[in-house]
Structures are given as structure tokens and as C-alpha cells.
Amino acid sequence: MSRSNAHTMDFYDRVAAFRDGDIPRQVESATDADVQRLLGKHTLSAQDFLCLLSPAATPHLERMAQKAHALTVAHFGRTIVLYTPLYLSNFCSNHCLYCGFSRNNRIVRRQLTLKEVETEARTIAETGLKHILILTGDAPDIASLDYIESCCEVLGRYFPAIGMEIYALSQADYGRLIEAGIDSLTIYQETYNETQYNRLHPKGPKRDYRFRLDAPERACRAGMRAVNVGALLGLDDWRRDAFFTGLHAHYLQDRYPETEISISLPRMRPHLGGYQPGCIVEDRHIVQTMTALRLFMPRVGITISTRESARFRDRLLPLGVTRMSAGSCTAVGGRIDKTAGTGQFDISDERSVPQMVSMLTRAGWQPVFKDWQRIGGWTERRHSISQ
């Protein structure tokens, strides 16, 4: 793909431009000398990034890790921003084969009342956390935009930064929720392989691959402060999905320099419904993905969730991580109601906020509770200079 073509292509075309056969061929053809050359290079291209994901890079993981560590400390310092997820609703009209909230799973469906949202918010705020990530299933009639706006009004009293991970929206609807106080969006493509995506999403609105793929870009256009993308590693060949995740983040960072772009590296976890990962993603693959991403994009944020074990998260800490969740709970109402139902997935790292703080401090990292200050709605900020 030539540089000039790449500039005008949208992301869907860019993914399509890497024909199916190309990636495995490029991965297999990377040599030790290629990797050695890249490790001395200042700015990496997408092809270089792919080379660092190849088997040829495996013997160089330690060097990649050391470079990734140095870049992360230089650009982000020895700091980790802490956040926690708050599940508002698990109603869902999708049938995603790998998800515990799939409409075919017989679980107790629940949506928090505003009073319950307030109680959960207070419980979380008491731990000192300031960054919250709200989540819902894909049920716009129940977990509606009106409902989310009302939740934001409650949560805004407790948290200076509210992120969301909900169903894909139009640009206008992203704008509406930004006005309501949402400042960051997390949305995973799950897998960038369109054929596999269609197989894994047989029913429901999420079946529209293209609408989901373009959602992060619509959020950037709407003026979202931060956008976080990712693939659920294990649904398809991990190298391919890791590559497209990096490419996606790079595309967004290029086109929307005002937006803080970040990446999550979620790995398939056991859940109700029993879907087994299509591809085994080993710890060393996560390490290779994270360090290659850091070398490719020195300033991109990287999040590791509680899907990973406490021990592994601790080891990943110096390799490029900038954000971690703490005191997580993936069941709706799980913090206020100990009998709350099934979570979206099983948490592996169940450490509380004080335990995470203590681990980070011991390891020489500063837990950052607050890294954003809400300064009014976007429209207000953008269009008026008031005195």
C-alpha cells in the first residue's frame, strides 16, 4: 500500500487492503536481521510493527521489553492511572458466542435504578477512585441514551472522569453523551477478521461489522477526549488481531491528533456459555504484543484489565502499561448486592483498591487516582469564550 493511497483510505479499506494471505506471509517471511534492524530504528511503520509481532522477534523479547520500558517511563513516568468498571445493565439483544451476557444465556437480567447507581457510586468513591467506566449490554430500548444521561448526572457528582463501554452509536449520539459528561469511549472490535466476526455474531445489531469498526472514528469526530480500542485476543489468530488493533489506533492517532488514543489487550476468559478461545494466546504472546505496540506507538495508552491474573499483571506493569482497573466487579449491582447475578466474564485479579495501591507502591509506581478535570460540555468549550 503506497503512502499516498493510505492517506485517503478509510479504516475499513485499509483493513481490506491487507488481503487475507498477506499477513501470514509477511509474518513468516520476517527474519532475525529484520528484527535487529528495527530495534535500532527510531520510527516504525505498520510493516515494521508486523515484523515485531512475528516469530522472528521472539528471541528478542527481552530487548523489546527494555526498550518498551524506557519509552513508557520517559513518556508517562512511573505512574499508573487506576479506574474501575461499573456495570449498569446486562440486558442484551446480541448473541455473541463468547459473551456471558449473550441473549441466549439464561441469566438474571438487571438494570440499576438511579438510586442504585448512586449507592454503587458512593461505594466506589469511598475507595478513592476518580475514574469510572460504565458498561451496558446492547439494549438501546432499555439501557437507553436517556438512561445513560441520567446516570451521568448522578455519577458526575462523584467522578471527574466518566468513560463508557456500551453499544456502538452514531456521531450525533456520541456528541449527546459527551454533553452529558462522558469523556472517554472504550469499544472493542472483538476481532478484525470480518468472516470470523460474522460467525461469532450471528444475531443482533452488533452483527454490523462496519458500523462497529467505524464507531471509534465517529466518537473522535464528535469530540470525545479519549478513545480506547482493542480486540478480544483469542477469538482469531492473535497476531492478526494485535496487528489490526495497532493499525486502528495508529489510524485514529494520525487523523484525530486531539484525541488521546489508547489500546486495551483483553484476552478471552472463561464465562457462562462455554465458548472456548479459537486461538490460544500465551503469556509470551501478550508480552510480545504489548512491547511491539509500545515501540510502534510510544505515546499510546495501554490498559490491562482484571481478566489477567494478579501475578501476570504485576509482571506486565513495567512493559508499557499506563492504566489498570482495580476493585473490579463485572456483575450488575455486584458491589451493593452480594447475591447479584452472573458477571460478564470471570475476574482473575480480584484485588481491592488498597491492595492494588500497595502493590504499585511496592513496585515503585505511583497509583494515579485523578488524571482529568471536567471543564464543562464540549459545545460550550468549543464554541464560546465566555468571560
Binding site: V73, A74, R78, T79, G128, E258, I261, R299, G364, K370
Partner: protein, 263 residues
Amino acid sequence: MNSIHSMDSLTIGGHAFDSRLLIGTGKYPADDMIPTIIAASGSRIITVALRRVDFEATTDNVMQHIPDDMQLLPNTSGARNAQEAVRIARLARATGCGNWVKIEVIPDSKYLLPDGHETVRATEILVKEGFVVLPYINADPIVARQLEAAGAAAVMPLAAPIGTNRGLTTREMLQIIIDEIKVPVVVDAGLGKPSQACEAMEMGADACLVNTAIASAADPVAMAGAFAAAIRAGRDAWCAGPGAIRTSAAASSPLTGFLYEQE
């Protein structure tokens, strides 16, 4: 023993300071390290990102670790345009952080480069509102001149992209700014080693702001002391007026020597 030149003070916004090293608060492994860093650096001015300040902290909070006698320099990190910078500055003042502000308008999350035009706009507004404004800018002499005209208390051009520790990569433009701008010039961002800070001071800069190079050092406290010493040395050298640099030791004058030849 310090020379008398080391005692010349830095004056910004009508206040005199006995240190020419400004420091930051981000990127340290722990905030409780900050008082020790301040002591080792001798710094009198410290910048803090308002986005990190927690006014209702139930947990540890960066503000608890900054002694009252330090000049607080809240910065507008996170602002992407003039409007956001202005709002953050007003919020800082309203929440008791004083009327100094370091303007950072950064519409570029890839390299964290500042937007000169928006920075000038924010400066114009905030100066009129009585703020002491220190804008962070690219090493652009024209922008520096516009900021001076807008009433900035100092200008803070970058030596290299922030966080890179690459040193005085913008040297030529920095020298023009130093030569032309009447308000203090504080070299900010990209200084990786004390020798580079020393060189900036030898060039005539009034002060340096160092964060990453101190915070990411294996021993941040020792590095803070090293930067302080380098900045003192550079300032002393500039005050002393270095001798001319010669490319050869030739004493003869092959082209004009004939003027002095005896008939």
C-alpha cells in the same frame, strides 16, 4: 563557595527567586518524594497539572507534598484549544491555586506539540484577567514575540519534544528567542542531561524547567541536585562572559599583516 553571580535572582511576574531551576510533579514513582526533590533541586517554582489535582482527595494527593513557600505554577495539561486552557486556568484560581498559570495547549497527542496560535489567544485573555502567564511553546521566535506583546510574564520554548530527553535540538531558534525576547526565557521540555541545561544557561536562557530527566532517573534526588549545579554553573558562565572561541591558534595575519610591515 558560590560565586556572586549565582546569587543573581530570577524575576518573573514581579517576584524574585533565588533558583533558576523549575521542576514538575508528574512522572515520579511517588508523590511523597517531591519534598526531597525540592530540597535537592533548590527550586522555588513547581508546576502541577490541574487535571491531577484532587480537591476532595480521600487518598494521597500531590498538593499535600508541596511546601507552602513554593511558587505554585498550575498548568493546563489536557487543554486542546485556548478555550479549554482559559477554563482550566480560571478553575485553578477559583480553587485556591493562585494566579500563576503555565499555558499548555496541546492539540496533538502523538508528539505533544503546543499550538502557538491558540496559546497566544489564551495568553491575551488570561493576562487581561490578571493572571501571571507562562506559556509553553515551540521554539518559534515569532510566537514568542506575540506572547511578549500579549503580556506573558515569561516564555517557555521547548528544547526537544517533551519526554524525549534529547537536549537542545532547537538550539538556533532558542538562541534567537533568548536574544530577542525581553521577558524571561525558560527552556522547557526535552532537556535530558545536566550538561544540556548548563549549555542552555550558557546561551543566555534565564531558567530551565526539568521534569522527565529528573523523574525518570535511577536516583531522582541525586539528579535534581545535578541539574541544580549545572544550571548554576551555566548561569555563572553566562554572567562571566565567556572568551571568544577561536578555530585556530594562528597569531599571524596573512591578509592584513602587510599593513604593519616596515618599509
